[in-house]
Amino acid sequence: AQSVAQPEDQVNVAEGNPLTVKCTYSVSGNPYLFWYVQYPNRGLQFLLKYITGDNLVKGSYGFEAEFNKSQTSFHLKKPSALVSDSALYFCAVSRGSGGYNKLIFGAGTRLAVHP
C-alpha cells in the first residue's frame, strides 16, 4: 500500500535561515511526488512536483525539493525562510499508473518562521 510519512508535526525556523520539511514515501513502481501548501481558510496550493528527470525540482515561492530514490525521500527545502512561508505543508504521492493520480497525502507539517 502506498503511504507518506511526514515525521515532524512542526518545524520552527528563524527568518533568513534555510528550512527543510521532511517527507518519506512508500509506493510500488515509480512514484509521482508533490508538495502542497495550505494557508488558513484557503485551499491547498501546488508548490512543485517530481515526475522524472533531475532529482532537484524547483517550484513556486523559491521552494525546491530533492528526490532521493535510495532513501525514498522527497524533502522540501528553501535557502532563506520568510515569515510569510508560515503555513501547513503536505507531501503527497501517486502511484504513477492507472492513467490518473489519486493522491495519498501525509499528515502535514506546520512550518513556523519567526522574525
Binding site: 507518506v4 509521482y32 508533490f34 502542497y36 481558510n41 484557503r42 485551499g43 491547498l44 496550493q45 501546488f46 512536483k49 515526475i51 503536505f90 503527497a92 501517486s94 504513477g96 499508473s97 492507472g98 492513467g99 490518473y100 493520480n101 489519486k102 493522491l103 495519498i104 497525502f105 501525509g106 499528515a107 502535514g108
Partner: protein, 119 residues
C-alpha cells in the same frame, strides 16, 4: 474567477440529515476529485471522475456517500443520514489531461473546501 469553487463554504447540519456539497472545477478540466480532510490530518481520497463517470470510488467510506457529475463539469457530493463522524472539510480538485501523457502526472488544483459540521 478561474479557480475551483465550492459551495457552501460552511455547512452545519443535524445528525441524520441529508447534505449536498457542490464543486465547480476549472473550465476545461476533465478530471475531478473529492477528498476529505479531518482535523489534524492530510486529505483522504474519496472519489475520482473522468468526464461524467466515476472512475474510482474506492475512497467513499460507505453507501451513505454518493457523488455525481452529470454533465462532466459541476459535481455534487451527497451524504445521507449524516453522522457526527462525517464532520470534516470536504475538498474538491480538478486537473487537465495532456493529449500524450494523460493526466497522471498533472497537478491537481484545489478549491477552498466546504467545512461540514454535524451536530
Amino acid at each position: 474567477g478561474a479557480g475551483v469553487s465550492q459551495t457552501p463554504s460552511n455547512k452545519v447540519t443535524e445528525k441524520g440529515k441529508y447534505v449536498e456539497l457542490r464543486c465547480d472545477p476549472i473550465s476545461g478540466h476533465t478530471a475531478l476529485y473529492w477528498y476529505r480532510q479531518s482535523l489534524g490530518q492530510g486529505p483522504e481520497f474519496l472519489i475520482y471522475f473522468q468526464g461524467t463517470g466515476a472512475a474510482d470510488d474506492s475512497g467513499l467510506p460507505n453507501d451513505r456517500f454518493f457523488a455525481v457529475r452529470p454533465e462532466g463539469s459541476v459535481s455534487t457530493l451527497k451524504i445521507q443520514r449524516t453522522e457526527r463522524g462525517d464532520s470534516a472539510v470536504y475538498l474538491c480538485a480538478s486537473s487537465f489531461r495532456d493529449r500524450g501523457l494523460g493526466i497522471k502526472n498533472n497537478e491537481q488544483f484545489f478549491g477552498p473546501g466546504t467545512r461540514l459540521t454535524v451536530l
